[in-house]
């Protein structure tokens, strides 16, 4: 707020932060970063920053100007030692040695230009000398002006341009223009119409409002010379000098005067700062108003600063918090990451760790969506062939499985050749609770009074999340083809990620949420003494308030009392499955899910299978809405199936439904599938953590037993064999136990080991 309101953007918040710690030297260094004359300005600034201070809403403004003075008083050396660039051959004339001209002299002097100030009087400072000496002592003026003259700036005193000066010389502007490469006119409020530049109706020099260029090439003007009323604002004079200085530098370097000049001078910031819960306070009074704040007083005053910042999204999002910065910095890092040609891309994991859930946009006063930024970054990484392959591989292979013959089917209702509806349960509901898929399909056929077909498969969301447009489009095309072959029936969806995907990418397909249907139906399993529960909205329903209402109506009618979570509906948090976060950054995903389940002491009801399984796996009593609809009121925590079982459940569901509902003959299982395994619970957990599936192990053993290619442990008699069925090489340590094989260990790697037969 303060920084934007300051015409030269002094970092008052940073100054207060350092001063609050008692580090007045660091505070002064911050002040000097933008301000060439801290001694002067800290005494006479009209302080537009204080009018913008957010503290005005909750007590008095922070006394920023007085804090600046404390910086100067307690921060150390009064003169600075700026870094000066090597001398340049180009020379600039500055007409007028007031504070605006001095600013240009300081800025261009530091850049190495030859600077000559033409001052009409016998001293630099202009209007500063008209301020009372009590307010602004002469030694303060001299000390600050020394910052300019120490740069080797030449000053020609008593030198009037265009008029006869005391020393008798009076160069014309045109002559000066020949002698110098550029000119800055800053002779203050004096009206002098003898200059050969265009003027407005009031006789004031006309300049471009951004560049401060006059009508004459290479001649710029700023400060009081432009003002129709005497603003007496030193900070405004400095600001105009600074901006004209940028133009002069660009003019001399022959680059664009106008390119990317935004937010120069004071501007209104869009920064949102939440002042809720901050106590009102008054400005710390000075013991001695003439000398300004004592050191302790300054520290106390600086501590009143609320350090305005908008961290609304960071507060609510574990992911944005985990990397300890905020969106503006994150976006810069993402941009840099995408621009790196050679070297390490440190932001890869950051980009891949976002759940893309959109919560940040929902809580942001400016609706900034980091998910969209990350989604685009992932697409770009894929395009550049720079996407870490391990980040999404497992999820993409899971999707491939769902859309393969192992699971995918598309059928009309048995005995019919048309479908008015189809049920598409999605991949993870079938993986998590195949029985519920069967129940829903039976219910739909019974209750919709129409032909209801069935499609099994994946909507392609994991490919979208991974930035794999190629796989995503292929998945949508496959789905479309199957849907068209069934005559484009209406699609009943049980999964909110599918719902979001179809709504966004298949707008011509008519979709119906399963919850909208159930809302209108009789619910046979009402619980007489049902408990109070909290509803966890899936992040993909963020903007589906109607679906959220349907879910709540169903839960109410089932007899449960609903306690809303603080972050629900459009502000809901992701369970960590979204965006493949759970795979790309497993430690962070753990924190995300732990935080979510700790938000309420009540048991959770979800309407997404992944949310249910992620919560239940961490011991949170959680039921899926379908569990409740079908009368499963058992709240003891039940882990969902592991990754291997999720595959098995889908494959088995397809075979069961084809056999029982369509009476279709089944394909013979692959040879490796007949391999029987003995796996202890502890080993199952290890395999799950290492993302090794039972079918991977079956393949390894089948291959080893067929080829004999394996190692033998002389001590234990265990076998060790490996196989690379996809991008991953799996190693399995096993022993034969009758017909079956006991698994003793398994691990994997992605590096390829060259085969070198002897």
């Amino acid at each position: 707020m303060c920084q934007a309101a300051c015409p030269i953007h002094v970092d008052a918040r940073g100054i207060a932060r350092e001063m609050a710690k008692g580090d007045s030297a660091a505070a002064l260094a911050l002040l000097r970063k933008t301000l060439p004359f801290p001694g002067i300005i800290s005494r006479i600034c009209d302080s537009p920053c204080q009018r913008a201070c957010k503290r005005n809403e909750i007590g008095d403004t922070i006394a920023i100007n007085a804090l600046e003075r404390a910086c100067v008083n307690y921060g150390g050396e009064p003169t600075d030692k700026p870094r000066v660039l090597p001398k340049k051959s180009k020379r600039v004339a500055i007409v007028g040695g007031g504070i605006s001209g001095l600013t240009v002299a300081y800025d261009l002097g530091r850049k190495g230009y030859g600077v000559v100030i033409f001052e009409a009087s016998d001293k630099l400072g202009g209007n500063l000398w008209q301020i009372s000496r009590d307010e602004l002592p002469a030694e303060i003026i001299r000390a600050d002006i020394a910052n300019v003259t120490n740069l080797g700036v030449e000053v020609r005193y008593n030198s009037l341009v265009n008029r006869l000066g005391l020393n008798g010389s009076s160069p014309k502007l045109a002559a000066l223009r020949n002698e110098f490469d550029a000119i800055y006119l800053a002779f203050g409020a004096h009206t002098d119409d003898s200059f050969e530049v265009e003027r407005d109706a009031n006789g004031k020099i006309k300049v471009d409002p951004v560049t401060f260029a006059t009508s004459m090439d290479g001649v710029f003007a700023g400060g009081g010379v432009l003002w129709s009323v005497d603003l007496r604002s030193s900070i405004q004079s400095i600001s105009e000098g600074r901006r004209a200085g940028i133009s002069l530098d660009r003019y001399l370097q022959r680059v664009s005067l106008t390119a990317s000049r935004v937010n120069e001078g004071a501007y209104t910031t869009r920064l949102f700062t939440n002042t809720q819960g901050i106590a009102s306070s008054s400005m710390i009074e000075m013991d001695d108003p003439v000398d300004g704040y004592e050191r302790d007083e300054a520290i106390a005053e600086a501590q009143r600063c609320i350090q305005c910042e908008c961290m609304e999204c960071v507060k609510d999002c574990e992911y944005l918090r985990a990397y300890e910065r905020y969106p503006r910095k994150y976006i810069r890092e993402i941009y840099n990451n995408l621009a790196i040609v050679k070297g390490t891309r440190y932001a890869n994991q950051f980009i891949n760790s976002c759940s893309l859930c959109g919560q940040c946009a929902a809580v942001c006063p400016e609706h900034l969506d980091m998910g969209e930024v990350n989604q685009n970054a992932r697409r770009e990484m894929v395009k550049q062939n720079r996407m870490p392959v391990s980040a999404h591989d497992f999820a993409l292979r899971d999707m491939e499985f769902s859309n393969s013959d192992k699971f995918a089917i598309a059928r009309h209702q048995p005995g019919t050749t048309t479908s008015e509806y189809i049920f598409f349960p999605g991949c993870q509901l079938a993986a998590s609770s195949p029985a519920n898929v069967e129940r829903v399909y039976a219910d739909l056929r019974a209750r919709l009074n129409a032909n209801v077909g069935l499609m099994l498969g994946c909507c392609g969301a994991p490919a979208e999340w991974a930035g794999r447009d190629d796989l995503f489009q292929a998945s949508l095309a496959q789905w479309n083809e199957q849907h068209a072959a069934l005559g484009k029936p209406k699609v009943v969806l049980a999964c909110s990620s599918c719902y979001r995907t179809f709504k966004k990418y298949l707008p011509d397909v008519e979709i119906i949420s399963l919850w909208n249907l159930f809302e209108a139906w009789q619910l046979p399993n009402v619980q007489p003494n049902a408990r109070t529960i909290a509803i966890h909205d899936s992040c993909s329903t963020r903007h589906e308030s109607q679906m959220q209402d349907s879910v709540r109506n169903i839960v109410n009618r089932l007899g449960y009392k609903i306690e809303e979570l603080a972050l629900s509906r459009d502000k809901t948090a992701c369970c960590s499955y979204g965006g493949v976060m759970w795979l790309a950054n497993r430690d962070l995903a753990e924190k995300v899910v732990q935080r979510r389940i700790a938000e309420s002491e009540f048991a959770y009801v979800t309407y997404c299978a992944m949310c249910r399984d992620f919560f239940a796996a961490r011991g949170k009593p959680t039921r899926h809405l379908l569990d409740l609809i079908y009368g499963d009121d058992n709240w003891t925590t039940q882990r969902g199936p592991d990754f291997s079982q999720r595959h098995e459940n889908r494959a088995r569901l397809k075979r069961k439904m084809l056999k029982e509902i369509w009476s279709e003959p089944l394909d013979d299982p692959a040879e490796y599938e007949s391999i029987q395994l003995k796996i202890s619970d502890a080993m199952r957990e290890r395999l799950d953590h290492r993302l090794i599936l039972v079918e991977d192990i079956q393949r390894v053993i089948a291959h080893a037993e067929k080829t004999g290619r394996k190692f033998l442990n002389r001590d234990t008699g265990h076998w060790l064999a490996s196989l690379k069925p996809n991008a991953v090489t799996y190693w399995v340590e096993y022993s034969a136990q009758g017909e079956a094989f006991e698994i003793h260990n398994a691990y994997s790697h992605r590096m390829y080991v060259e085969e070198q037969p002897q």
Partner: protein, 70 residues
């Protein structure tokens, strides 16, 4: 690579196909187009290369990760 000694310190394993002891040989491992030589155990007859768990879950993951971010 100080861990290297551990990767070949597995006298308990022999080739199950050829029934011979494993020997240390230089083997090329490759990831994302980057190949490195490494001293690993392999069967002197059939050439089957032995990758112990600590190599797969340790150094290999580390190198995979750093190459993916290059």
């Amino acid at each position: 690579m100080s861990d290297e000694a551990n990767w070949v310190a597995h006298p308990e394993w022999q080739c199950g196909k050829c029934n011979v002891a494993l020997v240390v040989r230089q083997v090329n491992v490759e990831y994302l187009g980057n190949a490195f030589p490494a001293n690993l155990l392999k069967c002197p007859q059939c050439g089957n290369v032995f990758i112990p768990e600590e190599l797969a879950l340790g150094k290999m993951v580390e190198v995979e990760k750093s190459l993916e971010d290059k």
